[in-house]
């Protein structure tokens, strides 16, 4: 599991109307970005970096965490007079690193490699952010992650379903990250991964009635096709269109906070938008494939177009075929934009290119591992 450093800013977890906290958090991610080119804004107030490279460079996780805590401590908070309150934690996996950061005081908390399962043991099950699960476990007398982790995985799956099983693996330290963790924290609404609430109070007359009706219908679709079949979109920072937006399972009732509904609109606001080198300029493609399709981009002679180390195409693209489909003539192209990204899983070096094929149709292609992939279409 990857070593992760998390910066946790308890005062910046929720956005203000005027965006002051969002701007303060952007300063935090900017400060972290001085140490590592790849910073992920996990949610508002929480950002993460992989420690492997930086720790090797700065002389270990401890030193890296201290340097970073110092840099973040010097950042202006919401008002310039007050600095940002921030905890810094390092552990195996995002979940444990967040807990370490929340636990840290003025000094960073570094959980040694392999020490994460033991570190997690005493934490309450409520840290999994699943109120229903915590409630049920509490009634069984299970109050800590350690006790939860000790339950047989098969029983957990049978009793609590796929989401419960995923939480169980996180509690055991086998898996590093909770499903649906990376999203802005919510005020008052049900927790991520919780089932659809059909008991919304009808305080606002027709408005809440419409929300409840929509929620019930979506729950029926989930029953029909499976819980993952209904999704919704969220925006976040990143380079490619697939990174800058997330598709998450519909969790129901998330619309109730009007300030949150507003913030998802248009991509502005709290989505911390530090400069992302290699970001493809807008507009964004209308179709973004979750699994890119293999593509062939060839020049007039039928030879595969490559991208040189200097970020230039080796020949002018002439024709495109996607997934073994028919060839279409390339009428225009732009790029490539080189990018290094997705530190989270495996580091990737890639280049993106926009290719115009038909009347009004264009594609976003990715060059990676010696091949071309269709990442999106401007339908």
């Amino acid at each position: 599991m990857q070593r992760v450093l998390v910066v946790w800013c308890p005062d910046l977890l929720e956005e203000q109307e005027d965006g002051g906290r969002g701007r303060a958090f952007a300063r935090v991610t900017g400060a972290v970005g001085m140490f590592s080119p790849v910073v992920e804004a996990v949610r508002s107030g929480v950002c993460a970096v992989g420690t492997r490279g930086p720790s090797r460079y700065f002389g270990g996780d401890d030193r890296f965490a201290r340097l970073l805590a110092g840099a973040v401590g010097a950042v202006d908070g919401v008002t310039a007079e007050v600095g940002v309150r921030a905890g810094v934690g390092v552990a195996d996996g995002l979940f444990a690193a967040v807990l370490a950061a929340r636990w840290s005081g003025t000094d960073p908390v570094v959980v040694p490699p392999g020490g994460t399962p033991g570190f997690l043991t005493p934490w309450p099950v409520a840290t999994l952010e699943r109120p229903e699960l915590a409630d049920l476990l509490g009634r069984l007398g299970i109050h800590t992650l350690g006790r939860f982790a000790a339950l047989p995985a098969r029983d957990v799956l049978a009793r609590f379903g796929a989401d419960g099983a995923a939480c169980h693996r996180v509690a055991q330290g086998i898996c590093g990250e909770l499903p649906c963790f990376r999203q802005p924290p919510r005020r008052g609404g049900p927790a991520p991964g919780e089932g659809i609430s059909t008991r919304q109070p009808a305080f606002w007359g027709g408005e809440a009635g419409a929300a409840a009706r929509a929620g019930r219908a979506l729950a029926r679709v989930q029953q029909l096709l499976g819980p993952g079949a209904v999704v919704t979109g969220q925006l976040q920072g990143g380079r490619g269109p697939a990174e800058r937006a997330r598709v998450v399972p519909w969790a129901g009732g998330r619309d109730t906070g009007s300030e949150q509904t507003g913030r998802r609109r248009g991509g502005a606001g709290p989505v911390p938008d530090p400069p992302w080198p290699g970001q493809v300029p807008p507009p964004a493609p209308v179709i973004v494939l979750t699994r890119p399709l293999p593509a062939q981009l060839v020049d007039t002679g039928g030879h595969l177009v490559g991208v040189s180390g200097g970020g230039m195409v080796t020949a002018a693209p002439a024709r495109l075929s996607v997934d073994g489909g028919p060839w279409t003539v390339v009428t225009g192209w732009a790029g490539p934009w080189p990018s290094e990204e997705r530190w989270w899983a495996v580091p990737r070096r890639l280049a993106r290119m926009q290719v115009v094929t038909g009347p009004g149709t264009a594609h976003l292609l990715t060059r990676e591992r010696g091949g071309w992939w269709l990442e999106g279409t401007y339908d």
Binding site: G205, A210, R213, A214, R216, A217, L218, R220, V221, L224, L225, A229, V230, V231, T232, G233, Q234, L235, P241, A245, V247, R254, D255, T261, R264, R265, G266, G267, V280, P281, P282, P283, A284, V286, I287, L293, A316, L320, S321, V322, D323, G325, P326, T328, G332, W333, A334, Q354, V356, T357, G358, P359, G360, T361, A362, L374, G376, T377, Y378, D379
Partner: protein, 231 residues
């Protein structure tokens, strides 16, 4: 006291004003639909004029299987309604470009997506037509006339706006309005220079209502900032 005011206000309002019947549209799209809005219970089909199939293959893509702008126009139709608080759903639209949809003004908190319903798409669409304000559906191919008729009847009965992404001959029922996207041209890209900035299209409206018959309008779909603009 406030509660009393609210209940009085709701009682004093006409039960079914014409305002309630009309959901808002992005301003550049208003010339295309009767009375400049989404009429509750209306069926609107969106397709391309060059014969490319509008229905997608579930993955929603293929070099020959997309229409230059029809996909974005279909989402643009529900943008203003979602931003005004209407509940919207999209069925069978494949892997959606969330960023593009959001840049256009769709409120993501009001849009539920069922990207790959498979053969259950009519059932899923029917469930959602019963409950949402606007449902966008992209059928996987030719739709049987019985299925189409039932969905249209349901939309009319439940006063839900049904937006159908169509290809030539894939939707057997006559819609209230059919929007055709034509002459798409991308600006900003040369051979190796610049980047995609915006796409200019012509959208033609046809349908039963004389109000929009023969209306054509030029649109940036999208404009460089990602929004929809007249042009």
């Amino acid at each position: 006291m406030a509660l009393v005011d609210v209940s009085l206000a709701s009682r004093a309002r006409p039960v079914s004003s014409s305002r309630d019947q009309l959901l808002p549209l992005l301003p550049p799209l208003r010339p295309l639909l009767p009375r400049g809005g989404l009429q509750r219970g209306a069926v609107i089909t969106v397709g391309t004029g060059d014969g490319t199939p509008g229905g997608t293959d579930g993955r929603g893509v293929g070099t020959g299987g997309t229409g230059g702008g029809a996909g974005l126009l279909a989402f643009a139709l529900l943008a203003a309604a979602s931003a005004a608080g209407s509940w919207c759903a999209a069925v069978g639209t494949g892997d959606p470009g969330i960023l593009a949809i959001a840049e256009m003004g769709v409120d993501l908190g009001r849009l539920a997506l069922v990207p790959g319903p498979g053969s259950a798409w009519p059932e899923v669409t029917a469930i959602l037509v019963d409950a949402m304000d606007v449902v966008l559906v992209s059928p996987p191919g030719r739709v049987r006339s019985g299925v189409a008729r039932r969905l249209v009847a349901r939309a009319r009965q439940k006063r839900t706006v049904l937006v159908v992404r169509t290809g030539p001959g894939t939707w057997p029922e006559g819609p209230d309005v059919h929007l055709t996207v034509e002459d798409g041209t991308w600006a900003g890209v040369d051979r190796g220079h610049g980047h995609l900035r915006g796409r200019h299209v012509e959208v033609a409206a046809s349908g039963r209502r004389s109000a929009v018959r023969g209306v054509r309008t030029g649109l940036w779909l999208p404009a460089p900032s990602g929004v929809v603009a007249a042009g």
